[in-house]
């Protein structure tokens, strides 16, 4: 591997070749075609055949490939020709992967062999799509050609944006202008102006009132789910993100809230049918109390031990809810049904818009509480326990009670989320409270940026909203989850929006840090 141009092209090509292969083997090409057809609002492939959209996907992939190859080469040597050669090599290598795949699977299809026995996702339709509905050789050559051409295009695009002087300068000056706009004193003045702040708050309030009315029940459903996960995220963040105690079976408290609420409002086991708000309060209280009582014996455990114990709790509650033992209270595997919706001044509100309002109010109230706590004496004590429990104790923090408080509050918030969730679905059953709920919540606070409230909003949207919007990739949700977490841990371990410490000392000029001690 003496020739560096060859090497750069080869690296990108092999990576993208493997990517193409993996996507083919998991049957992602059909999904990709569907996703792209959605962009062109042609979901039933009436305007163009399906392989047309698949071609677009392959071209995009190829452009990316060429771009990366050219970038690697350009870093080494500022030269148009060698960059383009690298991207062509990249395209060639990735295309060869496509060609080989086409030849192997194309001939298998032509011999009527069903490979689904060994590779579950590789259906004959998927292979035909990969071959652009042509024969094995023609399809493979199309793959190869597309890959090379698109990689070349990618290389050219990279060159255009980074090396051509005018474009490059325009890009840089745009970035500079943006930077100076952000950091200019006038912007800061405007941002700290109380009237501007009030106007922004009003704008947000109007948006929050108007939007749920107008965007239809589907979006209300999606963002209602996101809102409930935001609640769960803020709750778990209190004990795990701030106080640093890894609680895995968080769905325990979610279940307590949901079932308490359900028992008091459902006609099924006891026909209590209490008022919505009283039942909601009881749900929150019961969950908080369960957090308090559970915390007493387990919060002296540290780190992994606590995680294992809480993991057990999450499983216990799921099995208990399913068991015949508690059927009188929980309805067994059927769960509790016909749970009442909220009423306000005797007027029931059961529409999706009303629930969206309820969730928005709950999210606002809870994030306000969390925000107030974050940098208070309590919040600082939690964070100190997270960072170094021994020293926190020595500085006077009663770590046990602090952790217990964090767990109780966090459980109460989970209870609130559970009660709202049960009320919105008018149903709650054991399947709503699986380990997956807990794992989702942990993932969302880690991806969003552990400890940071805006990060939780982002994390909830990315992990619960986006998969809901992109229904097509539903089968790959777990795969994307895993890949996302690995990639996050590698390139941005602190999350999308990492926690920032507040600026409390507003001095201008620092003195020499090694200077006088007097």
């Amino acid at each position: 591997m003496k020739n560096p141009t060859l090497k750069n092209g080869l690296t990108a090509g092999v990576i993208f070749g493997i990517l193409t292969t993996v996507m083919f083997l998991i049957g992602f090409n059909e999904v990709a075609a569907k996703l792209i057809s959605k962009v062109f609002s042609d979901q039933n492939f009436t305007k163009f055949p399906q392989y047309y959209y698949f071609g677009i996907f392959m071209v995009l992939l190829g452009i990316w490939n060429g771009n990366i190859a050219a970038k690697a080469e350009f870093k080494r040597k500022n030269d148009l020709l060698s960059s383009l050669i690298a991207s062509i090599i990249g395209g060639l290598i990735a295309g060869l992967f496509g060609l080989i795949l086409s030849l192997i699977f194309g001939s298998l299809v032509e011999q009527q062999i069903d490979v689904r026995k060994y590779l579950v996702s590789v259906s004959p339709e998927s292979i035909k799509l990969f071959l652009f509905e042509k024969s094995a050789l023609t399809g493979g050559l199309i793959e190869l050609g597309l890959s090379i051409i698109s990689a070349l295009a990618g290389g050219l695009l990279f060159y255009l944006f980074n090396a051509v002087n005018g474009v490059n300068k325009a890009k840089q000056s745009l970035f500079k202008n943006y930077q100076s706009l952000i950091s200019s004193p006038k912007t800061k003045e405007l941002l700290s102006d109380p009237i501007f702040k009030i106007a922004m708050y009003l704008l947000i309030a109007v948006a929050l009132i108007v939007i749920p009315r107008n965007w239809g029940s589907y979006w209300n459903y999606v963002f209602g789910t996101v809102g409930i996960y935001v609640l769960l995220g803020i709750g778990l963040n209190m004990i795990t993100g701030w106080a640093g105690q890894l609680v895995i079976g968080y769905s325990f408290f979610f279940a307590i809230g949901a079932y308490t609420f359900a028992i008091f409002t459902s006609p099924e086991p006891h026909n209590l049918m209490w008022n919505f708000w009283i039942a909601l309060g009881l749900g929150v209280l019961a969950a908080g109390l369960s957090g308090l009582l559970l915390g007493l014996p387990i919060l002296n455990l540290r780190g992994d031990y606590l995680a294992i114990v809480t993991l057990g709790l999450g499983e216990i509650i799921r099995i208990l809810l399913k068991s015949d033992l508690l059927t009188d209270f929980t309805g067994g595997p059927r769960g509790l049904q016909k749970i009442a919706g909220p009423t306000l001044f005797g007027k029931p509100f059961n529409s999706d818009v009303d629930f969206m309002y309820l969730i928005i109010v709950a999210v606002l109230v809870v994030s306000f509480l969390a925000h107030r706590l974050q940098n208070s004496r309590t919040g600082k004590a939690w964070y100190a326990i997270n960072l170094d429990e021994t020293v926190a104790k020595a500085t006077g923090v009663n770590s046990f009670w602090s952790k217990l408080l964090a767990l109780t509050l966090s459980a109460a918030i989970a209870g609130l989320a559970g009660a709202i969730f049960a009320s919105r679905n008018q149903y709650t059953g054991p399947d709503d409270h699986t380990l997956m709920v807990s794992i989702n919540v942990i993932c969302l606070i880690i991806v969003g940026g552990i400890g940071n409230i805006p990060g939780i909003f982002l994390g909830a949207f990315v992990l619960k909203g986006v998969p809901e919007i992109l229904r097509e990739i539903d089968n790959y949700r777990m795969l994307v989850f895993g890949v996302l977490l690995i990639v996050m841990m590698r390139i941005r371990p602190e999350g999308f929006l990492p926690l920032q410490r507040p600026k409390l000392e507003k001095f201008v000029k620092p003195v020499n840090p090694e200077g006088g001690a007097q």
Binding site: L369, R372, L373, S376, R377, T378, G379, K380, A381, Y383, A384, L387, D388, T390, V391, A392, K393, A394, T395, G396, V397, N398, S399, L405, L409, R501, P502, K503, L504, E505, K506, F507, V508, K509, P510, V511, P513, E514, G515, G516, A517, Q518
Partner: protein, 274 residues
Amino acid sequence: MKNCIQVNQVSKYFGGLTAVNKVDLEVSEGSITSIIGPNGAGKTTLFNCISGYYKPEVGQILFFSEPIHGLPTYEVAKMGISRTYQNIRLFSQMTAIENIMLGQHTRLTNIWIDSILGTPRHNREYKRSIEEAKRLLKFVGLQGLGDTQAKNLPYGAQRRLEIARALGNKPKLLLLDEPTAGMNPQETTKMTSFIRSLRDDLGITIILIEHDMRVVMDISDQIAVLDYGEKIAEGLPKDIQSNQRVIEAYLGPDVSLLTKKYQERKRLRHAVTN
């Protein structure tokens, strides 16, 4: 002068090992006491017993005549005993000023419900604690670095920040575990005068563990020497310097023989060169 802290016959065992063995120590208010001894002599264990991190199996520790042995660490801190650590243990992800504000934890009374509701008590204390933290930052010479994360501060600054955090507790007794470890001579001199100013300006009683003998001899009113968990000597710096048992503890039991041999060889070499 009143006794600030009185350690009576304190012993601490780890399994079969006696880390601290029947140690007595009396420190009068407003004095600087050094605890010295070879590695593994039980100095830090004694500190841990005083600050409540360990519960001594035998003996009593009285702080202004009140027993504190067996109290949890946060109670001990509340009574007015602060400490620093041999290897700096700041809350590294927090800013310098937040570290000091945590040091004030015991001196604040607002609880979580205050913070949520924004009661006057919370607002008043919050403002006051920031002011106080700024004052302490200035006192230890870290003015302007308050918003830096503790882990990003230079080494000497971290040492001083740790002391500032301890001072946030308004301590009556300050335990310093090797405050000049890893410092160059200039920094050591500064730290020494800083420690003295803590006593002179703030009236804090100080106990320090230290290996740098120049520091120890310079600032101590009283020195206690530990070896194998036992106190082998106690007294004024000049007494300790000439104490035979202390020299033996540091240099080995045959030190007098060694010195004789050394002097003999020196005399011989002197004779040869002449």
